[in-house]
Amino acid sequence: MQVSTQHTGDTITITLEGRFDFSAHRVFRSQYETTLQIPEVKHISLNMAKVEYLDSSALGMLLLLNEGARASNIQVAIVNCPENVMKILNIANFGRIFKIS
């Protein structure tokens, strides 16, 4: 999976691309940990438009991000979800934790 970030004002957009599964653990984690360090960030927007696949360990990584973000008072939104990604997030009812669109 490829991860890139874009910083505008108090929002960081993290764009994910490819298969979001256990193999993405290290790259995803190092990326969001860096992001959480930036003091002026208030919102993280996870752009899922180019995610082909998402498994349960990816859901676990989203929970890790959420935990870190909550500690720094940062809102996390998951945006541009393709249909198959949306389906998995819905079954897990992640809408109760994240803003998903």
């Binding site: 256990f22 498994d55 349960s56 360990s57 859901l59 676990g60 990584m61 929970l63 890790l64 935990e67 819905n90 079954i91 897990a92 009812n93 992640f94 109760r96 934790i97």
Partner: protein, 562 residues
């Protein structure tokens, strides 16, 4: 390095020996080919400098023999040739030599070649060590798997999965499964079942689900509701597992006496309820987050309840089933799974499902664990079936109950809204050594009396609401509304007293509510359906010795022989 110098010339041995010593190596010597092989076997040097022309056995033959000996360990052999001839070179390489230099010996060349060999040896040794470490990791991992698998097997109590009321299929991808199926009956004969799927698969997923069976069995044994069991599991898993680990789970309670199916689904695929014709009559989609994510205070233990009739089946499975992929990555999909149940005769569905997966995946290993459960409500055996058996086995008398114990409970509106007192009572009776057979009867009596007092006495619900289409759902939602608004001065008393005389041992059960009383005759006795199904208070009258309501109908005393 320990380096063997095989040369018949004492001068050459001395020159090369001095050079090697000077480079920090340890030279050992042989004067002909045969001695070279002997010394090699005895001393196991790291590298060999071998002269070609030697008496007794030449360097080529000795090289061939040494190369055939040193299996698994790279020992470079550098040939020393007198003539700089191509034939010598080819012969040397074919015999197994790794490099060569020519006489007269030029010191810088020998030095460079020995250094090159040293580098090759170091790389080889490094690989050897890593291979050994990998082998050890592999062995340790296999061993961990074996132990986890053993623990899992013991904890899931597979003998409890022999209940004829359901079929199951569990196909793990690794030796340990991250999918888990547990099932048990409550004292009242209700089938409780959990199908859980830990994050990922293999060892860590199996570790995730290990705490579940104990909670499930302990709480089912004393008739906790599946909502309560899910809440307890969530609290335990949240406390134990790291943030990124959680468990998708479906908990089911199928009650043959009240003919209800109760579902709690957090993160698993939709659970299907099919009628006798194989038509989908209800879909219980995942309404909750998986277990282990929310704090206990935020956990939602609410369940769905559906009434069933003849021929109904409940189908639940992990996402490994619809997601099973073929060689092109195409998933099996829900439609094809559902079609199996529409088109196959009831007894063949599981076999058909297995062959569908095998065909689709071309018998390849699936990416995720697969687990499937089919519950046949027709095979649950109701209490009425048990008691109408021509030769009912009368429970053996309990002996361990001592004289004189009495338990009285008084619950106010606040408690009634949040607490189910029956598991506490059942747990206590269990600890007082009441046998399972008695416990089963007592559970039925106590829960019937308690529910009547709450539903009809305090909440003033009319059983007639249950009749007709959606009657049951309407009844449940009205019950929820009224319970939420229950007046603060409402009370419900439960009393249990062990009465022992010379001739009998009895348990007196008294239930009283603060309501105006209800007509148990029309409300719970005169109901044809209840009578027909042998449920409700008519069943209590069958298994108890005596059932007496007070004139206003807000107090009932039941006597039961232990």
């Amino acid at each position: 390095m320990k380096i063997l110098v095989a040369d018949d010339s004492a001068t050459n041995r001395a020159v090369l020996g001095a050079l090697l010593t000077n480079m920090g190596h340890q030279p050992i010597f042989a004067e002909d080919g045969r001695e070279a092989v002997d010394v090699f076997e005895r001393e196991l040097p790291d590298c060999v400098l071998m002269d070609i022309m030697m008496p007794v056995e030449d360097g080529l033959s000795a090289t061939r023999r040494i190369k055939s000996l040193s299996t698994g360990r790279l020992t470079p052999i550098i040939m020393v040739t007198t003539l700089d001839s191509e034939t010598d070179l080819i012969n040397a390489i074919e015999a197994g030599a790794d490099d060569y230099f020519t006489k007269p010996i030029k010191m810088p060349v020998v030095k460079a070649k020995v250094r090159a060999m040293q580098r090759a040896i170091e790389v080889q040794r490094d690989i050897e060590q890593k291979t050994q470490e990998l082998e050890k990791y592999y062995y340790d991992a296999e061993n961990d798997m074996r132990i986890t698998s053993h623990i899992m097997q013991r904890m899931t109590e597979p003998e409890k999965l022999n209940d004829p009321a359901f079929e199951y299929w569990l196909q793990p991808t690794a030796q340990c499964s991250g999918d888990l199926i547990c099932a048990a009956r409550t004292p009242g004969g209700v089938l409780h079942l959990i199908l859980a799927d830990g994050t990922g698969h293999g060892l860590s997923a199996a570790m995730d689900v290990i705490p579940l069976p104990q909670i499930f069995y302990a709480m089912t044994a004393i008739a906790y509701s599946i909502g309560n069991i899910a809440a307890e599991m969530n609290a335990k898993i949240k406390a134990l597992l790291p943030v990124d680990h959680f468990i998708a789970a479906t908990l089911l309670a199928v009650d043959p006496n009240n003919q209800t199916i109760e579902v709690w689904n957090g993160g698993n695929p939709t659970c299907w309820i099919l009628n006798g014709r194989g038509e989908l009559v209800h879909s219980s989609r995942s309404k909750h987050l998986p277990i282990g994510i929310l704090e206990p205070a935020d956990f939602d233990a609410s369940t769905e309840k559906v009434r069933f009739s003849a021929g109904y089946r409940v189908i639940t499975f992990s996402d490994g089933l619809p997601d099973a992929g073929n060689a092109n990555g195409a998933e099996l999909g829900l439609d094809r799974v559902l079609n199996v149940f529409r088109k196959t005769s009831i007894s063949n569905c599981m076999a058909k499902l297995k062959s569908l997966v095998a065909t689709h995946t071309n018998n390849a290993k699936t990416h995720d664990d697969i687990s499937v459960v089919i519950i046949h409500t027709d095979k649950l055996a109701t209490w009425a079936d048990k008691t109408s058996h021509p030769n009912p086995s009368s429970p053996a008398p309990s002996t361990a109950l001592s004289n004189g114990w009495r338990l009285e409970m008084r619950l106010g509106a606040t408690e009634l809204k949040v607490l189910d007192p029956i598991p506490f009572v059942i747990d206590l009776l269990k600890k007082l050594q009441v046998t399972d057979a008695h416990l089963s009867s007592l559970f039925l009596i106590i829960s019937e009396l308690f529910n009547n007092a709450l539903d009809h006495g305090l909440l003033k619900l009319d059983s007639a609401i249950k009749q007709g289409e959606n009657g049951f759902e309407n009844y449940l939602s009205l019950r929820g509304e009224r319970l939420a608004k229950l007046s603060q001065d409402a009370t419900l008393e439960l009393e249990f007293e062990n009465q022992i005389s010379e001739r009998s041992r009895r348990l007196k059960i008294r239930v009283k509510d603060s309501g105006e009383g209800f007509d148990h005759k029309t409300e719970v006795l005169g109901n044809d359906t209840e009578l027909q199904h042998g449920r409700g208070i008519s069943l209590v009258q069958k298994i108890a010795d005596q059932v007496v309501y007070n004139p206003s109908g807000n107090e009932v005393i039941v006597s039961y022989s232990l």
